[in-house]
Structures are given as structure tokens and as C-alpha cells.
């Protein structure tokens, strides 16, 4: 029998039928280690849980409920749904994270809820972010969450795995975001649908946790169920003779700063190909690029300068911890002095549910992960995705700008 991928190993270890060999394509019933749900999806999960006869969740210590999609509540309907979540968490003795603490995925990582090798479900497609911690984590809907809350189990189709080898090292001005946008361009928005992705390469081995989170965060933009930046310290590894569906190689030495054009994440090109595009709004934040490392990168470029006339810069730190650190370091001060407007840590701007909605025909440059039509709350706006450095350079010039155009990057 051939070796196993990370996805095959973790699912096999959690299968209720012990000891049976597992291969891609098998359907397994597995026990889950941890559940995460937030205010956009938890109310529906709680309702489904009650409708299926649930009274007590299988293990309250294995779940967290987080308010992050529209906080502080913008109107009464949302306030009441959030209130329902507070009551449910209290009744069930489930960990509860109040609005303002930050984006769910950042909180789960910061709080250290997870360990390598675990199997985790979240009612958010970017739950795959925890792959950076060696966790098989995947997004599900509210009813799957309800069933897992009730039974402690779920069913899984074991995914095939794509192996992505990142060769060489990153040039100045490039970041993890440019790597994952390039990868999305190569694999395609549905190229990893139902699949797992394992990333390898020297750059991964030395990349920061923040960079690895950015990579794992966006595997779902290629349709992937889960993804793993495979460094030796990931805490879980594939067998040497594991079977891969396909191998993809990306040459980092040849990479330049990238953008994804509206309205598809895989419509990518070099920043230089779109550097005449005038922008109206920029967003720095999200589970993809709202960490302290991202804010520092932008502040390095914006410190002591002013953003261009006609451009709005919105910043939503990924968490309270990130925001406090950014304050301590003077990073937030630099961003605000340059003209940035700071929003409560959370998801609202990225997902068009709270704050920062663009007007008809406006161009937005965003550090988030999605540029679907209508994503930020207006289907007549145009969203480009880019790295924090590209965003900072672009708000200075008022048009999409390669950070290497700036003196300090030459």
C-alpha cells in the first residue's frame, strides 16, 4: 500500500471505523475535535440543532461562538441574532467571543484552541486557514455544523491532493499574498475543488506563521477543502511515497507583485500590467492580510506620507491583539496620520455586511481574499486583490502601483 497524504492521515485517524486503510475518494464518518461558528451562520446552525432534537451539544469545551461579521451590530435584526448567540453560548456553556475581538480565524489561532493533526469544522469557508497549524480544517454550512454539535461527528469524502512546490525565494516587494494569487492563477478558481493542497519549498520552511496563514487561508479560492504549508515544524507530515493527483511548480524567483482583477480570483496579472487603474478605495484587513505583519508592511511605506486625494483607506486589524500591538509600535498612528480610517476588528468590510461599501463604478483594491461581483456590498463596484505592500504603494499614488516603484523598495 502506498503512503498517505496529510488529509488521508488525519481523516483516517478520526474515522469511527478504526484501522481500515483510507484512500482518496472514500467516504468516512469521523469524530471532530473542534467547532467554530460566527454570527453570519451560527443562528441558522442553532435553529437546525434545535430542530433536529438537540438540547445539549456533544462537548461544550470543543466549540467556540464568535461575533465578527457585523459588529458592533449595525441594526436591530443583527443585534437580536447576536443576542440569541450570547444566550445559546451561556445556556450550553460554550466559549463565546464578543464582537470587537476580531476575525474568527485570527482569534482561533491567537487563542491556541487547536493542535496539529486535529479535525475541525467551521461555518466559514476560510476555516481552511488552520491548515497552517497542521489541522484538517474545512468550511461547512449551518446544518453540517448543527449535526456535528449534536453528534460530535460528520462525514467526509477523502480528498485527492495537489502538491505545489514553490521553488526559490521571494524577491523584494513580494509577499505570501503574491504567492497565493499566482498559485490561484495557475491552478484556477475551481482547480482544487474537492481537493487538498500541500505546499512545499525552502521559502515555506522559513516563512512566518502569518505568511503560512495567508497561504492556507486562500486555498478555498481554488475550491480546496483544506491546505497545508508543509514545513518540517508543521507537526504533521505526508508519507514520502504519498500519492498526488498532480504536481504544480511555481518559480518564486520570477514572481513579481500580483493582483487579481474583477471579478475572479484566478484572473491574475502582474501589478505592472494594471498600473494605470485609478482606485477610489483600499482595504487593509481580513483573515488573509489583517495581521500585525501586514499592518507593519503598510506602515513602513505610509509613515510620514499622505494618501492621494480621492482615495479612501480603510483599515480593520484582524483582532484586538493585532490592533493593540499596532498601537504600541506606532504602526496604527502612521496609518491614521497618512489618512487611513480604522474600523472595528472583524469581517464586515470584506464581506459587505458592515462598513466600507463602495459606490457604483468605484474601484477597490483589497487585501482580502475575494473579488466576486457584489462581494463588498455593491455589485457595480470593481474589486482588485493585492498584498499589503501593493495597497500601501497604491494609496500613495492613487492608482494601482507596484511597491518597487517607490524609492524605499528600489
Amino acid at each position: 500500500m502506498s503512503g498517505r497524504t496529510i488529509a488521508e492521515k488525519i481523516l483516517q485517524n478520526h474515522s469511527v471505523k478504526k484501522g481500515e486503510p483510507v484512500k482518496a475518494g472514500d467516504i468516512l464518518f469521523c469524530t471532530v475535535d473542534f467547532l467554530m461558528s460566527h454570527d453570519a451562520t451560527a443562528p441558522m446552525a442553532i435553529k437546525a440543532f434545535e430542530n433536529m432534537g438537540g438540547t445539549k451539544i456533544f462537548d461544550p469545551s470543543k466549540m467556540v461562538l464568535i461575533l465578527d461579521h457585523a459588529t458592533p451590530a449595525p441594526y436591530e435584526r443583527i443585534a437580536n441574532l447576536q443576542s440569541m448567540m450570547r444566550s445559546f453560548a451561556k445556556e450550553q456553556n460554550i466559549k463565546f467571543i464578543e464582537g470587537g475581538e476580531g476575525v474568527c480565524h485570527q482569534i482561533v489561532v491567537e487563542q491556541g484552541f487547536l493542535k496539529p493533526g486535529e479535525l475541525v469544522l467551521g461555518t466559514d469557508s476560510h476555516t481552511c486557514t488552520y491548515g497552517a497549524l497542521g489541522v484538517f480544517a474545512t468550511g461547512v454550512g449551518s446544518t453540517d455544523m448543527a449535526a456535528a454539535m449534536y453528534t460530535g461527528k460528520s462525514w467526509f469524502k477523502v480528498p485527492e491532493t495537489i502538491k505545489v512546490t514553490l521553488k526559490g525565494s521571494l524577491r523584494r516587494g513580494c509577499s505570501a499574498k503574491d504567492v497565493i494569487l499566482k498559485t490561484a492563477g495557475v491552478i484556477g478558481a475551481d482547480g482544487a475543488n474537492y481537493r487538498s493542497i500541500e505546499f512545499y519549498g525552502e521559502w515555506i520552511d522559513s516563512a512566518s506563521l502569518s505568511d503560512r496563514l495567508t497561504l492556507a487561508n486562500m486555498v478555498v479560492e481554488m475550491g480546496a477543502k483544506c491546505g497545508f504549508p508543509c514545513s518540517p515544524d508543521l507537526g504533521v507530515c505526508a508519507d514520502d511515497d504519498a500519492q498526488y493527483l498532480m504536481n504544480v511548480e511555481i518559480d518564486l524567483d520570477a514572481l513579481s507583485p500580483m493582483v487579481a482583477r474583477p471579478h475572479a480570483v484566478d484572473d491574475v496579472c502582474s501589478v505592472s500590467e494594471v498600473n494605470d487603474v485609478v482606485i477610489h478605495q483600499a482595504f487593509l484587513g481580513s483573515c488573509t492580510n489583517g495581521r500585525i505583519e501586514d499592518l507593519r508592511e503598510a506602515a513602513k511605506i505610509l509613515k510620514g506620507k499622505k494618501i492621494a486625494d480621492g482615495v479612501r483607506l480603510i483599515i480593520a486589524p484582524a483582532s484586538r491583539q493585532v490592533m493593540l500591538k499596532a498601537m504600541e509600535e506606532g504602526v496604527l498612528q502612521s496609518l491614521i496620520e497618512a489618512g487611513g480610517a480604522v474600523f472595528t476588528p472583524g469581517c464586515g468590510v470584506c464581506v459587505g455586511t458592515h462598513g466600507g461599501v463602495p459606490a457604483d463604478g468605484e474601484v477597490v483594491l483589497s487585501s482580502s481574499n475575494r473579488n466576486f461581483k457584489g462581494r463588498m456590498g455593491n455589485n457595480k463596484a470593481l474589486i482588485y486583490l493585492a498584498s499589503p505592500a501593493t495597497i500601501a504603494a497604491s494609496v500613495l499614488k492613487g492608482r494601482i502601483t507596484d511597491p518597487r516603484e517607490l524609492e524605499e523598495y528600489r
Binding site: 453570519a40 437546525a48 461555518t123 466559514d124 449551518s142 448543527a146 461527528k153 455589485n379
Partner: protein, 162 residues
């Protein structure tokens, strides 16, 4: 469980943001969800799908967010089932979980207003108008069982778990 209705045809890569925008998802009132289904793509969707419509689409239907409000909005708007060349993983599962059948087949052989017929779990979808039988990618057994019960909620109520 034989389902028959008229096709309403759309293209490729229809995201959950287009099926229902994030700003409309914060409610437990499923009628509110249905009122906004597909509105950014086709303001006439509600009228076209009513009276037992079947949503036919191209590749990668339902990509993006894990919001279950997307299949719920479609089901409540009157969609009997969805036929597409391929589906995004999370949407596919969510649709089955709420009892909305999904059929993977070559939808190039379906035009607007064709009368389609599908029996949940069957190997073919019948295009009655064009007198064609379209091969359907088989569903895993667990999904057929869930659909036959009308979704995961009734399934678990009946069996007490998986």
C-alpha cells in the same frame, strides 16, 4: 421522489455572493432570503423560477462562501432542483443537507424552458422537451439517504445521528 419542472438557465461560476449577497443573509426568515435570491444576476429570477422551476447552470455553481442561506434562498424561491456541470464543494453539500437536490450533468443539453425530470438518486436526468437522457454523476449513498429524508434535520430526527 420524481421532480419535474421547467429550466431557467444561467452561466458559469455563479458565486454565493451572487446567489444571495452577504448583506441580506442576516435573518432567520427564509422568505426574506428568497426575496433576494439571484437578484444581482437576474432581477426577474423570482418570477422566472416560480411554479416549479429548475435552475440549470454551467460550471462551478455556488463557489465562494459557506453560507447555507444560498441554497435555502433558492429552495424557498421555488427551485425544485439544481442542474450544473459542476458544483462548488460546500454549496453541493449544503444543498443536499437542506433537502435541495443537486444534479451534476452536461447542462449544455438544456435550454431555457425545457421540461426536465429527475428522480433523486437516478443515473439520468430526462430532458423531455429535447427527448434526451443526460448522464448524472452518482451521489454518495449517504447523500441519497439524506435527500430521501428531506435533509439532515429530518434524517437525524429519524436515525438519531449518522
Amino acid at each position: 421522489m420524481k421532480l419535474q419542472g421547467h429550466a431557467v438557465k444561467y452561466g458559469d461560476n455563479i458565486s454565493t455572493d451572487l446567489i444571495i449577497a452577504g448583506k441580506h443573509t442576516k435573518t432567520l426568515n427564509v422568505r426574506d432570503l428568497a426575496d433576494h435570491a439571484m437578484e444581482d444576476l437576474d432581477p426577474a429570477f423570482g418570477r422566472r423560477i416560480s411554479g416549479g422551476g429548475i435552475l440549470a447552470a454551467g460550471s462551478y455553481f455556488g463557489c465562494g462562501s459557506s453560507r447555507e442561506q444560498a441554497p435555502v434562498a433558492l429552495k424557498e424561491a421555488g427551485v425544485l432542483f439544481i442542474a450544473a456541470k459542476t458544483f462548488s464543494r460546500i454549496f453541493y453539500r449544503n444543498a443536499v443537507n437542506i433537502g435541495l437536490p443537486v444534479v451534476e450533468c452536461d447542462t449544455d443539453a438544456i435550454s431555457d424552458d425545457d421540461i426536465l425530470e429527475y428522480d433523486v438518486g437516478a443515473e439520468v436526468l430526462r430532458n423531455i422537451t429535447q427527448k434526451k437522457e443526460l448522464a448524472v454523476t452518482p451521489l454518495p449513498e449517504i447523500m441519497v439517504e439524506i435527500l430521501k429524508e428531506g435533509g439532515v434535520v429530518p434524517y437525524i430526527r429519524k436515525y438519531g445521528g449518522f
